[in-house]
Symmetry: D2
Subunit: 403 residues, 4 copies
């Protein structure tokens, strides 16, 4: 089939035409694509990832509300639960390992999680004639945050989202550029679309109209926004997703009996691993958070392009009286319980299993992800901490014996 | 169901028991799980991601062989092809955008791609009594690379992989630690399991037996290996996957007619975006490589936990006589055409569509991913480069109108 | 002389005793050390660095005041001046090059400079029993910034500085730690001593007394404060010194006649240099700011240990209608016009030459440093941008011919 | 005096004319400038920094030779010594603190130091028409390292330095650029001038003449060379100066009696400080290496613009049987014992005091700097590790009481 004639629509005939042209049949075309007709253009088939369910993961979750108008998170309650976590992946050993970490935590009083920040940022850039004008523009914006927040909230246009609320505005002048970080909250959605539209409204409707300086060029996003590329700004401060903390204090007994290592061995691994991270220029200090996060993201319809940024992590281990305190900080977990990929049937069902489908669930979901991530960190570290990392080797040995 | 009784096996009864216990049915349990019985523990259901197919993407691909024993890549030929790329995702607009970028390239002579390095690294760590001993160990290892390469190749043990060939050994002493970067090639597999086993063999069978210094502790991996966490080391040098380059020279005409912007506008965006990346501490300089890479990874059974590291990217744009030269460097694309998730039916079928299933295909596959990634970079940049980034806004407007 | 008997005082006899014991005489002991008796312990001699004076450097300087109580910088005026800059160094060519850059700017309308932020930060750390307690502490601190600002301002103790005013407090929880960034302004002093004392007062007198959580340990500084070690946090946001911008728009004529290159050549260099910076993991994007900054610091008694942090820089070049716009952002220029090394006779005299000695001069001084730094950037870049970088080679050739 | 008439020469009359024009007299013009006539252009006066001498610092030093032709460092002996270290600075407390750290080490068996790498790199850049050509150029260079090493060594031209020997060549292709890292050794000189000249020779005489690809532009340095700007590349791998390690194992007794803290307290500080470094995006993990390094550099005529890069540091602390093992890695200490600022009388005298003046002394000098740096790290850490960091506060209290 020629380039020009490649059908781009998603009606059943076009889908079938593409499948025929490519000679596709069997598994990849067997799944009913009707529910996905709006998911992407040139829809042709399906990918399937097997899902394991691991649990219970015991976790004390916080309940949170956003305070108006500044969007500070307020904790309104805490509750202890046990959740079963769906993991979509094909990495033998991962599910069993996460399960073992959860058991070690369970025997030690469980996980505790906290959400401390919620923002998503679109970083526009105004290219001016000079640094002087960029400084003037920055001063104007710094002085009009409240006005812009109100202006946006009062827009009647349909295409401007009322969910994406402007919270803070930060400017960064370099050369002739005034970068502007528009920080929003977007409810239970991840929010890239709605914040993009609202930032466009602010840029064209407010800044270009009211600022004392006329920028040569307004760019919706010029890479200070943290979108799908890890960066120190968002690693340290959050601002692209939920900033979530998870912790547990493992008892000597749980470390020995469930994890089959010792606290001293884990601390020695932590010493070597932390300095190895620094030596190689890792931004994260962690073991394998991306494995857990990718598996939950794939099961629950999150944006897989955000696996890298959502997996930025800062883990610690410290001996305390009761045993070993372990914790992880996920500064920018980009999760949603409504919109995007969460709307499709399979994803929705796995979110329901977690009690995380629909409105009002996003902070719960973020915390479950953090607890599961810490569970895997604990178990994978324990395997690595054994003498010569024998248990880590064994896990790889078993699952890789075919080659 | 209680924690203790959660069935962990993947026989049909156990799978069914878990589904019943969780009240799962309908879509997520409708897919036959038999082919996935070895994919993960506690298998319970499936996730489905819709796949669009975009193409043709015109690309001149290199053919490569590894030179023995040092593992240098030698280019043995080049051929021009057109490929259709499967993209598993639910991000409206992504497929259409990638398609537009491919068309712009098509009208400008197509993409050209190069693989310049192929390695996967396991970074073990020997914790010694002192820096003195760590230095001694490093000297010993630096002087015995050829011996260790041979020793490993001659191991008769079944569990030692003959595919994972030791190429270089680099040491890094800090404090009392001697980190050791074991750099392997692993054929068409991604290779984390096989390199783990071979590094374990080297650590316990060679280093701990033959080195003049007895380390207090051998750790298989202490975070200098670049596994699933982006780091400068692997961004700059590669060493965890394939280092792949893609380029195209867009004509003025293609930029104007297909991309609906101008070369000057694209260069201004590049200026702002590059400096925005620096200002926010991004390691990559790029637009949205993770979107393309995640979508191909999800379709073809690659490890989704590696989306972040595989998406490390360095993009450039420069005006040349013939138009705008655009290029991207992906230093560590962790792809496979055999093993892991590529073995399962759907993934295999999508790899076949690309002509990338099975042995001898991994360099081809890596190049197709790079070309597709650059296609999306081109088109997304063009949308952003329009006045006020109006076209980028429009794309988000259309797909986000529901909220 | 034995270790135990090494005299530590700085009376003339002790100084002489040390000189004798070490067999020192001639140049290094010829300078009268009396004025330096309080400068450091075990004073024994002097180092001398030759100073060149380069100028005039034409620069339009802003005048600034700190708004109470939040410490925002307000620009109260702008004035054009010509300054002569003292440079203490032994790097042949540096002074001539900086002079050439100043001439190019002079022919193009001169430099313009801006101070946009002024802070110095001491980052204390409270190590708690758990993440839970660290989060509670952070919430308490976030809610009591105004109280702490007032509490500190009202302290009657002599050792608490009234110059070091608390402006903002930021918390960062990771693991069981609550890092606390105490951001001060310190008038015309650099301020490390005074902010250290005031942070100690806050830690022991306020936090440990009033917080609802009793930390296990209070540490005055745990490396989030940006002290003498470059970091992304302070590169992006400033917070350790003055954030200063300098710009000039070079005419085609000045580039050609004074700098002996072309704007196109400079832009090509900028392209290669910016991407080279990214490729090698530089935080700065600049050419050689440390050369200018070290030379001014050495002449004027600034803390030479701060050369690295003060030289963090983000430079840009962009073609505009009037020629080439060049700019540099120095996010954390740690300068003083009172206190520390500025009090000693030579340093004071060089500050006087700049019109920057004493109170009320620090913003002026910061801007002069930025303009001089940009002057060197311009000229060094021009030498590098010539064909094959011939002019850069020539400069090194001439001064290095002896070897 | 007008710009045009500013005398640029360094004969006594020109110097005097400048001093008169600026109204300079007294201290800054009192020092005889004759020895400095070749140091810099427009020489006008002098800066003076007081020097304290601290010691003895007990250190076991390695002796090293460069193996031809690859430039590997070979250790030929080790010897224990006591050195007195000159420190030029005005930071009250610094000298006393360094002295205390040295005493703690002295009571614990002293320092041990190692040089593990010696290189200085000029990173040229060839901008080509396409990535294709840049890849071809890289292949050519990778295949001709031995030829280029020989070609350079055999050059008869006077301006090509025989001291700057080419050791390795590394290429890095991104976009249309082929960056080329020319790695030299430069004997006892720091070497920026000589490597610049030799890189120019290679670029223009070899590459542009013999390469199969004609680059559009050759740039001598495009920011991958690590010159005066800290970068991950040179932090991890060295390559710009000497890579030096220093260690000591502090006894419990020395920690308690000399440092007035405990090993547990120091380990807790290390925990908080290491994670604080990561959290704020520091590349180094250390306390205040720049203070020691700047002070020694200022006394001994090193390039003060290199304080930032030479102070990149990676420090560790770990409990071992004998007490607390502490170590520091300085990856790129840019020191010289001949050439540049070391030739002038004061600097030379202070180098002599260290036994480090002239040829064959540079590895000794590098190690002394590393030991002194570790001495200060130990003592400053100990002050910070006391309860509430009281002793750190006290040190700042005493020296800052005037304000």
């Amino acid at each position: 089939m020629e380039l020009k004639r490649w059908p781009r629509k998603n009606d059943p005939e076009s889908i079938r035409a593409r499948q025929d042209a490519l000679g596709l049949n069997g598994d990849v075309t067997a799944i009913d694509l009707a529910p996905f007709a709006n998911a992407n253009e040139m829809l042709t088939g399906a990918a399937v990832v097997p899902v394991s369910v691991v649990g219970p993961v015991p976790v004390e979750l916080g309940e949170y509300e956003l305070e108006e108008p500044f969007g500070r998170l307020v904790e309104t309650g805490r509750a202890r639960e046990e959740v079963c976590v769906p993991l979509a992946h094909t990495e033998g050993g991962l599910s069993a390992s996460l399960y073992r970490g959860a058991r070690a935590a369970a025997e030690s009083g469980g996980f505790r999680t906290y959400v401390i920040r919620d923002r998503i940022t679109r970083a526009s850039c105004f290219v001016c004639k000079s640094t002087e004008e960029a400084v003037q523009l920055a001063r104007f914006l710094d002085a009009h945050v409240a006005e812009m927040r109100r202006w946006l909230a009062e827009r009647p246009e349909d295409w401007i989202s009322s969910y994406a609320k402007l919270r803070e505005v930060e400017t960064h002048v370099v050369g002739p550029m005034c970068h502007v970080m528009w920080a929003f909250t977007t409810g239970d959605a991840c929010g890239p679309n709605m914040m993009t539209r609202n930032a466009y409204a602010l840029n064209t409707g407010y800044v270009m109209e009211h600022a004392p300086v006329k920028a040569e060029r307004a760019i919706l996003e010029a890479n200070m926004g943290g979108d799908k590329k890890p960066s120190h700004r968002y690693f340290e401060r959050g601002g692209h997703g939920k900033t979530v903390l998870a912790e547990a204090t493992l008892t000597d007994e749980a470390v020995r009996r469930v994890l089959r290592t010792t606290i001293d061995d884990l601390l020695d691994l932590s010493f070597a691993g932390t300095h190895g991270a620094v030596a190689s220029g890792m931004q994260s200090v962690a073991f394998t958070p991306a494995s857990a996060i990718a598996a939950i993201f794939a099961a629950t319809g999150q944006d897989l392009g955000m696996v890298g940024t959502s997996s930025m992590a800062h883990g610690t281990g410290r001996r305390v009286e009761a045993g070993l305190h372990v914790a992880i900080r996920l500064p920018g977990l980009e999760v949603a319980t409504v919109g995007g990929g969460t709307s499709y049937p399979h994803a929705r069902r796995w979110l329901e299993l977690l009690g995380c489908a629909g409105s009002g669930k996003v902070y719960r979901f973020a915390q479950v992800v953090a607890a599961a991530t810490l569970a895997l960190e604990i178990s994978a570290s324990a395997a690595m901490a054994t003498s010569g990392s024998e248990n880590f080797f064994r896990a790889h040995h078993e699952r890789g014996s075919a080659r």
